[in-house]
Symmetry: D2
Subunit: 364 residues, 4 copies
Amino acid sequence: MPRKGKAAVYDAPNQPFRVREYPVRDVKSGEVLVRVTMKTICRSDIHSYQGHRPNPCPGILGHEIIGLIDQIGVDVPDDMRGEALAPGDRITWTEYFHDGPSYYKDVHDMPQKAEGVRKYGHDLAEEDPHFLGGFAEYCYLQPGTGIVKLPAELSDAEATPLNCGIATMMAVVEATEVTEGDRVVVQGLGLLGLYGCAIAKARGAAIVIGLDVVPQRLAMAKRFGADHVLDITGIPAQEQIAAVRAFCPPDGADAAIEVCGVPTAVPTGVRMLRTGGRYTIGGLVNPDANFTVDGNDLLKRWITLRGVHNYHPRHLVEALDFVMANRNRFPFADIVDAVFSLDQLDDAFRKASEREVLRAAIVP
Amino acid sequence: MPRKGKAAVYDAPNQPFRVREYPVRDVKSGEVLVRVTMKTICRSDIHSYQGHRPNPCPGILGHEIIGLIDQIGVDVPDDMRGEALAPGDRITWTEYFHDGPSYYKDVHDMPQKAEGVRKYGHDLAEEDPHFLGGFAEYCYLQPGTGIVKLPAELSDAEATPLNCGIATMMAVVEATEVTEGDRVVVQGLGLLGLYGCAIAKARGAAIVIGLDVVPQRLAMAKRFGADHVLDITGIPAQEQIAAVRAFCPPDGADAAIEVCGVPTAVPTGVRMLRTGGRYTIGGLVNPDANFTVDGNDLLKRWITLRGVHNYHPRHLVEALDFVMANRNRFPFADIVDAVFSLDQLDDAFRKASEREVLRAAIVP
Amino acid sequence: MPRKGKAAVYDAPNQPFRVREYPVRDVKSGEVLVRVTMKTICRSDIHSYQGHRPNPCPGILGHEIIGLIDQIGVDVPDDMRGEALAPGDRITWTEYFHDGPSYYKDVHDMPQKAEGVRKYGHDLAEEDPHFLGGFAEYCYLQPGTGIVKLPAELSDAEATPLNCGIATMMAVVEATEVTEGDRVVVQGLGLLGLYGCAIAKARGAAIVIGLDVVPQRLAMAKRFGADHVLDITGIPAQEQIAAVRAFCPPDGADAAIEVCGVPTAVPTGVRMLRTGGRYTIGGLVNPDANFTVDGNDLLKRWITLRGVHNYHPRHLVEALDFVMANRNRFPFADIVDAVFSLDQLDDAFRKASEREVLRAAIVP
Amino acid sequence: MPRKGKAAVYDAPNQPFRVREYPVRDVKSGEVLVRVTMKTICRSDIHSYQGHRPNPCPGILGHEIIGLIDQIGVDVPDDMRGEALAPGDRITWTEYFHDGPSYYKDVHDMPQKAEGVRKYGHDLAEEDPHFLGGFAEYCYLQPGTGIVKLPAELSDAEATPLNCGIATMMAVVEATEVTEGDRVVVQGLGLLGLYGCAIAKARGAAIVIGLDVVPQRLAMAKRFGADHVLDITGIPAQEQIAAVRAFCPPDGADAAIEVCGVPTAVPTGVRMLRTGGRYTIGGLVNPDANFTVDGNDLLKRWITLRGVHNYHPRHLVEALDFVMANRNRFPFADIVDAVFSLDQLDDAFRKASEREVLRAAIVP
C-alpha cells in the first residue's frame, strides 16, 4: 500500500495553513528521503507568509529542517565530511541545492549564487515530489544538496538552526576577516546577531560590542559572547559612535557587522571603525536598502565594505564544528524557546511574527 | 545507418597503436559529443605508453584535446563563462571530470581532488562510450566536465595545450603568489617551464630567471618571458645559487618554481630565495621524489614550500584569458612544432619521447 | 663660504611664486641632502596653489621629486632595496616620512597612516632646513623617508612621477586584487587612470575598459593598456553599465576602480560588476564625497567596496619595478609633455591647472 | 648621588652568575628606563648559559622581562596601542629592537628580520647602558622597541611570557592559518606547544590533538585546550599517523605545528594532513635540522610547509589580547611554577635546565 505523508500547506498569504496528505514515493537517483524530526520558523518564512515576498502557492514553507534518513537513492554520495550515509542517520543539509556546472560555482566557487539555484521551501506542493519544504512529515533532498550527519550528542534544538542562521553567520564573520584580538561591533542582536557575537568570540575576538534596542536581546547577547552591549534606543549616531570608540582605543573597532536590517546603520557603523577597518552588510535582505556614505572618508581611512548573502556549503560544515566546539560556552539550546506540532502552525507563526518567541520549533 | 569513428588504440606498453572503429551513438543526458580537431601528446601520455605508469588496455590515450561540438545532451549547461553551447562550437574542456558532491570539492573547493575524479585518456576503449581519450575522431564529454568555448581567432595549435600545461601552470604560479615586481626563478624550461615564465611575467614579475641544461630550451625561454637564462649543465648547486642571487639584490629571489622533475632541485631552489620567499613544487609527478632540506633554514628564513598538482576548473578559464591577452607577447603557436595524422601516431610518440619535437599535434 | 640654494616660494594662494635663496647647511644625523634634478606638478600642488586646501605660507610646494645625493648624514641606512647609498646616486623617495614607532605603522603595517606623518611640500620655507619641497634646487630628506636608487637607463621624465601617481596606483590596483584574467573598469583616465590601466594589464588583466569624457585621455588610455575606451559624455549611467557589461560576459566586470573624483561614479561602477566583484575608491580625495548605494544590492551580489589613500613604502619599490619591466610596453616618458625652469613656475602652474599639459616638469 | 643597579652577570658558559652593580644614568632620547619586576628563564637562555650558542661575555642574559617605567626619554612615542606612557606604568616589550629603515622591515613588513636587529639579553654588560638583559634590576629599552602597557588585572606571572613564547606562537598559529572548525595537530607540548594548543582553540579550532612523550605535559595540554593527547613514547610514525587520522575523518588533519625540535617529526606530521593541509615548523631552532620528505607526496596532496621564527610587533599586541580574552579558559598563571631571587639565579637555571620546573621566574 502506498505511503502518504502530511504537510501544512500554505495556500495564500495570511491564510491559515491547511494540513494535507501527499503520496510518499520511492526515491529517484540522487535523492534522499528524510523523515523530518524538527523544523524552525525563520524570519524569511514569516515574510513569505505575510505576503511581503512572492512564494509559490500552494506550497510548503520552511528550510531550517533536520530529520532522519528514510531512503537513499542510487548515486547519492557520502556526506560533505566524507562519511557514508545510511537510513536512520540524522542529518542537516544546505538550505539550497544546485546540480551540474555553473559559472558562479565552477569559476568563482560561489555555488550559492549559481544560476538556477533552488531553495527548500519555495516550490509548489501539488507537484512531484511534493515534499520540498520544512513544515511537513517528509522532505525529498535533491541532487546538489550538501548533507552533513549530526553527532548524537547534539539536540534537535541545537541542530535545526545550523543550516540557516548559523551557516550564514559563519560566512558573514569569515568575510569580515575577524581574527585573534579584534574588537568587533555587531549591529542588531536578533538571531543572526547572537550567532555573530558567538562566532566572533570563537574566532578569537578580544572584545565584542553588541547594539540593539530590545533589552531581552541585549541580555541574551551577553550570554552569546558580547563583552559589552549598548541599548541604542533614542541614542544619536554620534553618541553611539563615541560609546563604541571608548571601548576600542586608540582609534576605533577593527570590524563591524550589520545584521539589524536598517540601512542607516551602515554609515554609523563605518564611523565606529579604525583606519583599515572592515564592515560587512549581512542583514539588508530587503530591496532598496539605500544608505549614503562619504567616499572620501572610506578612501582616507582605507575602509572595506562588503555584502554577504547566503553561504557556501563548507560553511554548513563549519557551523556544525563551531556549535560542537562551543556548546558549553554559549547556550545554543536556549534559542529554541517554544515547540509546536504541525497542527499548531498558525499559532506558531503568529507568536514568531509577533516576536513572542525567539525561535519557534515544529515537531511532527 | 549507425555512425562509426576511428581511434588509435593503445593495446599494451611499447606496442604499436592500432587504428580501430567504434560505434558513435547518440549522447545521453549530460553528455557532449565532440568531433576532435586537434590533440597533442603530453609527457604523461609518453609515460603511460612506455609502461612507466599503469593505464587500462586496450585504451585511448590523450587528454590535451580540442574539437567541435557534434551533439549536446539534455541538461548540458552553458560553458563555464556562461555562454550557451551549440553544435559546431569549438571548445576545450577540463582534462578531468567529476559529477556530484564530494568532500574535497564541496568543503575545500578542490574538485580536482574529489574522490572518484576521472581523467580523459584513462578508460577502456572496449566499453561504452568508447571515446574518452584524445587519439580518436570523437570524444564523449561526461557530466562534471568544465567546458569553455574557444574564440575564433585562436588557432588550434594555440588552443590545444590550454587544458593541460597552461591551466596547470596557472595553478602553480597562482599558488606561488607571484605578483607585481617579483623576482621569480623557474627550474626547468620544458613546456611547463616555458608557460611558467610567461605567466609569471604576465602577472607582473619584474625579473624571471630560467634554469635548464638544454640550449634550445634556454633560447625558447627568452622568447617566453625569461629575462635571464642559466645553463646549469655541470654547475654545482652553490654556484647556481650565487648566480641567481646576483640577479636578485639584496637577498635573493621572491619566489621559485620547480618544474624540472628533479628532487634535488628543491633544496637548491630554496636557497635562492630571500627570507619570506615562496617555493612551489610543480614537477615532481613521479613517486618517491625524496629530497632533504634543513628545517632550521626554512624556519629562520620563513620559507613557504608548497606542492601543486592538477588544477581547478577556473584555471582553464584563466588559461584561455591569459593566452588571449598575451598572444602578441609570447609565441604560443610555436609550441606545436610538428603535426601528424592519426595513422602516424607511432612516429609522433617516438619523436615526442626522444624530444625531437617540442609538442607533437595529431589531426584527424 | 656657506652654500646657498634657490627655491620658488609660495607666499599666498594665487600669487606669483618668488624665487629666493636659503642657506644650505651640512646634513644632520639621518638626513640626506639631494640636489633636485626634476620635479613635476601634481594636481594636489594645484589645489594648494589655488587655495582649495590649506598649506603653510611661505612654503615650497612639490612632492614629486627626484635628484642626486649631495651629502649623506650618519646613520642613514641603505635604500629600501638594500643597496648602499653614496653621493652622486640618483634617487626617488616616499612623498611622506615618519620616524619612530606608531600604532598604525607597527600594529597594522600602515606607515602612511602613522600619527604625525609628514609630507614633502607642506612646511614653512623660513625654518630650518628650509628645503623640504620640490620646487627648489635642494631637498633635505628626513629620517623615516623610504629611498630607492634609480637605474641609469630610466629617464628623469619616467622616474619623477614614481613616488606619487604610480606608487599610489600600485596600492589601488593591489587593493582591488586585480589578477590574471580579470576584466577591469577604470573610471577616469587622468594620470592616475592611465597608470591604473597599465598596472592592471601588467598584473594580467584580460580586458581593461577605460571611461572618461576627454577624447585625448581616451586616446592616451589605449596606449596605456586599455582594451576598450568609452566616451561617457552625456551617457546615462544605465547605458554606461550596459556598454561595460557587453564587454564582460556573462555577468559583468570582475573589478572597477574610481579615479575620476566624481562620487556618483561609485554606484554606477558598482553596477558594472559581477556578483563577487571588487570596487576601489581611489580618486575621491576631496571631503564630502557623498554617494548613495543600495545595501541590498551589495549584499545579494557580495560586492566589496574599498577605499585606498596614499601608499606603503613597498609600493614605491614595486612602482619602480613595474616601470622598469614595462618601459617598452607603455609610453611612460610621454606623460611629461612640457618642461619648464624654476623661473617659469607661474607659467607651468597655469598650463597645468588649465590642463594644457598632461604633466609639467620643472628642471633647475 | 648617582644611582646604581644590580645585575646577575654571565661571565662564561657553565660558570656561576655573579651579581654586580652598574651605574644607572639618565635616559637618552628615545630610551625608556624600566625597573624590572619579573623575568623568566627561556630555553634559549639555557642554551646560551650551557655554551651551546655564543653570547657576549660578560653579559646579562634574559629577554622575557616586564617592569615599571622609571624614566622616559624625549621622543619616546605612545605604546603600540596608542596609549601614552608615563613613569610607573607596567609594560612588556618586543624581545628585539631595530631603529630606522630596512629592506625587510619596509618592503616586506618583517621588522623581526631587519638587518642589524638586536635582541635583549645579547650585549656586553660592561658597556653603556649596561642594562640590556633581564636578569638585573633595570633595563634600558632602546629606540625601535615595541612597547605595550599591561592591564592591572594581569598578574606578573601571566604577563612575563607574553613577549617570547606567546607572541611567537601567535605568529606560528597565524602562519598555519588556523581557523574556525580546523582539526589541528601540535607536535611537542612544551611551553610553545601549550600556547599553541590554546591559541588554536581560541581561533576556533574544532579539535586540537597534542603529541608528546612526557606525561605531565600531556596532562597540562588538556588544560590548555587539547581535545586529545597522545603519548608517542615508542610509537612508530605510521601508528602516530593512524591515531591522529582516526580523530580527523575523512582524510586527516587540516593543519599541524612542529614545536618539538625534532626534525623527523616533520615528515611524520605532514602525513597526518589532508590534501591541502598546512604544516608549520616552529621549533627547529637549532642548525642542521635536516629532514627528508617526498616531494611527490607534497605535490599530489597540495601540502603547504612553512617556517616561522620570531614575530612581528603586532603579535605582541595580539598576545596580550589573547591572554586577556582567555584568562578564564586557560591556566596561564600556572605556567610560572617557581619563583627565585636574583641571588638564586644559579639554582633557578639548574632547575629550569633539568626541567624540574616548567617556567622559573626571577623577582628582584
